[in-house]
């Protein structure tokens, strides 16, 4: 079953990625740029889903991890003159540390208390960025345009914000997230995480140290969010507090629920649909948050398993 799941899943994901790769040659500029954005945000959602969908921990503070990666990469490039690669590595390690320390505290709580703790820490992080505005440029944020330099590929120089670079970097990020989460979910470790989601006390009584597995899941999920944030900083050359705000924590939850929590490909689908839906609605009304709310409620009522979750239940039992 597992081997079959792995084989089928890799084929399916490979197909999706190939399609995304080829689409860049056909998409009109506007959609080309939308797809880049969707792929970055979807990577963030895939990391979020690792925690929510596979370990059963709901967080409302993931913007903290995204912003932590974004700011640590961005600030280190801005102030210390790190190269983009060094910034990425620093951002990754910094977020890994942040999520590990956060997990050590937050995972002492469960369910709703955990949700509230993540929310509180997320808000604290956001307010801290505003408070230290001399250093972080607060609400306005700052640009990295003059600090990134260019990227040389096969003797040609590209800007990080070059559309083709953006698209393909986002695609590589997405591909690696899909691959690594699929491998973990279908490994013995993934089995234990799912067990924790399904019945935590029983998992403990099977002889597993539940706390350390949850800590791993949280740290991993937070770090994935952080890498997405750092990547976003490079490709868009902009660092700002919108990425630390509460709505940026709610978004991956929504994308995941819509696409299907506990399915690997679901968050990608959810992110894409919501992105275009909001894009469409905001052309009509400025109150797109209302639409977001309505979609969330309808999803929970009609598709409690999300799109891919429902498809798995009905047809594709092997879907990881």
């Amino acid at each position: 079953m597992r081997r079959k799941s792995l084989k089928y899943a890799l084929f399916m994901q490979g197909g999706v990625l190939l399609l995304l790769f080829l689409l860049q040659f056909f998409l009109p500029a506007y959609h080309h740029s939308s797809f880049s954005k969707i792929m970055i945000l979807a990577s963030y959602a895939i990391g979020y889903n690792f925690l929510l969908g596979y370990t059963g921990l709901m967080s409302l503070g993931h913007a903290m991890f995204f912003a932590s990666g974004m700011y640590s990469a961005g600030l280190s490039i801005f102030y210390f003159g790190f190269t983009p690669l060094e910034g990425m590595i620093f951002g990754t390690l910094f977020t890994l540390t942040v999520s590990l320390i956060f997990g050590l505290f937050a995972l002492r709580t469960k369910a709703v208390s955990f949700l509230i703790v993540t929310l509180m820490f997320g808000q604290t992080f956001y307010l801290a960025i505003l408070y230290y505005n001399e250093f972080t440029y607060g609400q306005d944020g700052f640009s990295l345009t003059d600090y990134l330099g260019t990227l040389s590929i096969l003797g040609k120089e590209y800007l990080y914000s070059d559309p083709a670079i953006r698209y393909n970097f986002a695609l590589i990020l997405l591909a690696s997230y899909l691959l690594i989460t699929t491998l973990i979910v279908l490994s013995p470790v993934g089995r234990i995480l799912i067990a924790i989601r399904e019945n935590e006390p029983r998992t403990q009584l099977l002889g597993y140290n539940v706390f350390s597995y949850k800590l791993f899941a949280l740290t991993f999920s937070g770090t994935l969010a952080g890498i997405s944030g750092a990547m976003h900083a490079l490709l868009y050359s902009y660092i700002g507090t919108t990425f630390a705000e509460i709505h940026h924590s709610i978004s991956p939850l929504l994308w995941t629920l819509l696409g299907g929590a506990g399915t690997i490909i679901g968050p990608l689908l959810g992110t894409g649909i919501m992105f275009y839906l909001i894009d469409f609605i905001s052309g009509i009304t400025s109150n797109y948050l209302l639409v977001v709310g309505v979609v969330l409620v309808l999803t929970i009522i009609w598709f409690p398993l999300g799109i891919m979750g429902t498809i798995r239940q009905k047809w594709l039992k092997w879907l990881p």
């Binding site: 089995r191 067990a195 099977l206």
Partner: protein, 247 residues
């Protein structure tokens, strides 16, 4: 008592509010035999074994297992050291297949055997899972969702999970509850086979099962041990007769 002590409790108590569910119990389990605990509903049997496997912390007292005080160990550590508990009220992973349920248990015991940092191969896990499921008579049910099994079979699944955990001391809490008569006979046979290599502590209401299997019986009432002895001693004990027949 010639045999060696495997586990003992000393002055073990557990209070729930004003109620003392387990009251200053000194219980001994000797190696290489099937022991049983019997007693009326609410006697404290489940609470006692919950204390032993670490599901609930004691209010006072200590538990010695193979010469070591395990009272402070987490329940996970106790499972790793071989104390495996089969739930009275089933606590399986109802949304997962029987295969996954047992695999979770097998994976852990294989890891304990093979060392922490090795990844256990799925082929080895699979072998264990199929063996454990067929030992309890659930072969062919591997890919059925556990929650859709009839209650009796869920209890057998619990037993399969415990077997896959490679127990040294297997605690079975009312395993025959909800089973049909023919399944009970199978289970008696199974427990007898298991007991050749594993120490079994059986908690049962079904006297037929107890007297069929146990070599030593502890009777609990009101949180304390009322009497202990061989099955025939217990059968002929006047107080036990009063307790059970109410005369």
């Amino acid at each position: 008592m010639a045999s060696v002590e495997l586990l003992s409790t000393h002055g073990l108590s557990r209070q729930y509010g004003g109620l003392t569910a387990v009251d200053n119990v000194d219980f001994n389990f000797c190696q290489d035999r099937i022991q049983a605990i019997i007693g009326p509903n609410g006697a404290g049997k489940t609470t006692l074994v919950n204390l032993i496997c670490g599901r609930v912390p004691p209010s006072s007292g200590s538990i010695i297992y193979k010469g070591k005080d395990i009272s402070k160990l987490s329940s996970a550590k106790r499972v790793q050291s071989g104390i495996v508990y089969t739930f009275q009220v089933t606590s399986i992973f109802s949304n997962l297949s029987c295969y996954e349920n047992v695999a979770l248990s097998a994976q852990r015991s294989l890891k304990t055997q093979q060392g922490k940092w090795l990844m256990v191969s799925e082929t080895v896990i699979e072998e264990q899972v199929f063996e454990s499921l067929s030992r309890v008579g659930l072969q062919g049910k591997e890919y059925q969702t556990a929650g859709t099994l009839p209650y009796g079979h869920q209890k057998l699944l619990e037993v399969a999970m415990s077997l896959a955990a490679d127990p040294e001391l297997l605690i079975l809490d009312e395993p025959t509850q909800g089973l049909a008569q023919s399944e009970i006979y199978n289970l008696i046979g199974l427990v007898r086979t298991i007991s050749k290599s594993v120490n079994v502590l059986l908690i049962e209401h079904n006297m037929e099962v107890v007297f069929n299997l146990a070599e030593y019986v502890t009777v609990m009432d009101n949180g304390s041990i009322m009497t202990e002895g061989t099955p025939s001693e217990i059968e002929n004990n006047h107080d036990v007769q009063v307790l059970y027949l109410g005369t």
